[in-house]
């Protein structure tokens, strides 16, 4: 099991204070900067490992960055704190985006990222809660995180806790039936402490979601299952922050975050092959240059 990087936790706390105290423009700048820095780390990590799901990592990073930098009530030094908010990355193949985000919060030293998928590394290709602090459940096969999150939300309610539960889903992942079972249960039970965020990048491994097994009209589907659902720009940090910070209500809430797969790297954006293609050294350098300019 990896352990906390305490100085990094302090830096994360400072960023969080700065974001929450800032005006909208500064918030946008700070969050954008943090997300792009994480993107550069993702590209570097995957390039070095020769393995990973770069497209979906890049599309989800604004969502994860905003959650960890300004929304979730968590303490990286106490990953087992009972009343922490729960974040479940159901699209577990985008583990590098989660690992990078957790490392930036100080859950574990960023140096560990260089071991990603290496022999006996704690950082498996899909997250393992027994090895990585901050991971709530082991995901990888799709359609697993959402039922877990529903159970976590029921637990929070049974315990009369203020904790909230956030589950981040891929859009292609919604083709798994277990998600609709979970959606039905959450709607039926009016789990207002549960928020689902769909990383709606419109691409899955082999093709566009709408060419493969159509999801649209997506928001009405969620609403018909008893959810509040709204579409937002999944790359607008301020919009994400406001939507994710909205207080719990009497219904579970879904944010359909419209995103671009491969976001931030011109030659990867919205291209299906970058689902899990690995950037060469040259490509990684070009990508990082774009992300850090």
């Amino acid at each position: 099991m990896l352990t906390a990087d305490v100085p990094q936790v302090s830096r994360w706390r400072k960023l969080r204070e700065d974001v929450l105290a800032a005006d909208l423009q500064t918030q946008a700048h700070l969050l954008q900067q943090a997300a792009d820095a994480a993107r550069a780390t993702v590209v570097q990590t995957i390039s070095r490992a020769g393995l990973g799901h770069v497209g979906g990592d890049l599309s989800v990073l604004d969502i994860l960055t905003v959650l960890y930098a300004a929304v979730l009530r968590v303490d990286p030094e106490r990953p087992d704190w009972t009343d922490r908010d729960r974040l479940v990355l159901s699209k577990g193949h985008c583990a590098v985006s989660l690992y990078t985000t957790l490392a930036r919060c100080g859950y574990f030293p960023a140096a560990a990222l260089s071991t990603f998928t290496g022999p006996l590394s704690e950082l498996n290709g899909h997250p393992d809660r027994k090895k990585v602090p901050g991971v709530e459940t082991n995901t990888g096969p799709l359609g697993h995180g959402f039922p877990f999150a529903v159970g976590a939300a029921i637990a929070g309610r049974l315990a009369a806790s203020q904790r909230r539960v956030f589950v981040v889903l891929g859009d292609g992942e919604l083709q798994e039936g277990s998600n609709w079972e979970a959606m039905m249960t959450a709607g039926h039970r009016e789990l207002g402490n549960l928020v689902a965020v769909v990383d709606r990048n419109r691409l899955q491994q082999g093709d566009r979601t709408e060419s493969t097994n159509r999801l649209d009209p997506l928001a009405p589907k969620w609403r018909s299952f008893g959810w509040q659902a709204e579409e937002i720009d999944g790359h607008d940090p301020v919009a994400l922050l406001q939507a994710l910070s909205a207080p719990a209500s009497g219904q579970p809430r879904c944010l359909i975050a419209n995103t671009v797969k491969g976001k931030g790297v011109s030659f990867m954006e919205d291209r299906v092959e970058w689902h899990h293609k690995v950037p060469s050294q040259d490509q990684a350098e070009m990508a990082i240059a774009e992300l850090t300019r």
Partner: protein
Amino acid sequence: MTAGTVAAAPTFDCRIAFVEELRALARDDERIVAVCNDSVGSSNLGGFATEFPDRLINVGIAEQNMVGVAAGLAGGGYVPFVCAAAPFLTGRALEQVKADLAYSNAHVVLCGMSPGMAYGELGPTHHSIEDLAWMRALANLWVIVPADPAQTRRAVRWAAGDVGPVYLRVGRFKVPAVTPDGTPFDVGRASRLLDGTDVTVIAIGTMVSRALDAAALLRAEGVSVRVLNMATVQPLDTAAVLAAAQQTRGIVTVEEATVRGGLGAAVAEYVVQFHPVPMRLLGVPGVFAPTGSTEFLLEYFGLTVEGIATAVRELAAERD
């Protein structure tokens, strides 16, 4: 009952003991919750629902969701007992059992109700003869098959402790009490219900009483049979298996399940590597069972006192 058994012995549906113990446990420990798939009736959870309405989480007919929800409840500090018919719990939600419970090490107790051929007349879709093989293939999962009400109670209470993920097979087919008073079982250890020197019978669940009856029958024929109740199928008590292989001439395993991958396979995997002796694996021989009552199907597959005795005689006859 088959000829040769003590016809007067009272028999019990282990689901009753199961739910009584679960309710008793829930009164003392508010972390205990029940999760089910519209199976309030078939799991006998009605009383639990009345007593703890908020702590019975019925997700409807959705087994994958049910197991995932249970994992989330465990992550939120609760101890979920997932109660559902064994074939659907283990088959439909197999990947959730693997990833969300066993691999994630989530402390959830899966209670497979009406296993084996309890739903005999309903046909192979509703038979749960593969559950032991499926569950046993997973790392980090206890597989417990109580043989009578006392063992069932003990298993429920044990499973509520901090033991990690558990599959508990809760029988519906009525069985007599077979465990000695006061010592229902040590989880993880075989219990030697009868000692013997010629052949060992290793049985679980509904088959334990039949193994004891077969041993009684054979004693009259001069064959000395050791009977082990292997209520913990995983991890297997290999010391008890090794002792059986060393101290008797052969081993018969008996289970109300397919012989592919369950108790018999577990014993054979060990025996063949560390102390080969002749074996017979009694169970469903790798086929889908026909339709019929549970009693009929047990007879059909020779899972009877006479069937066990025949297998023992064969091994006893192999003495050098």
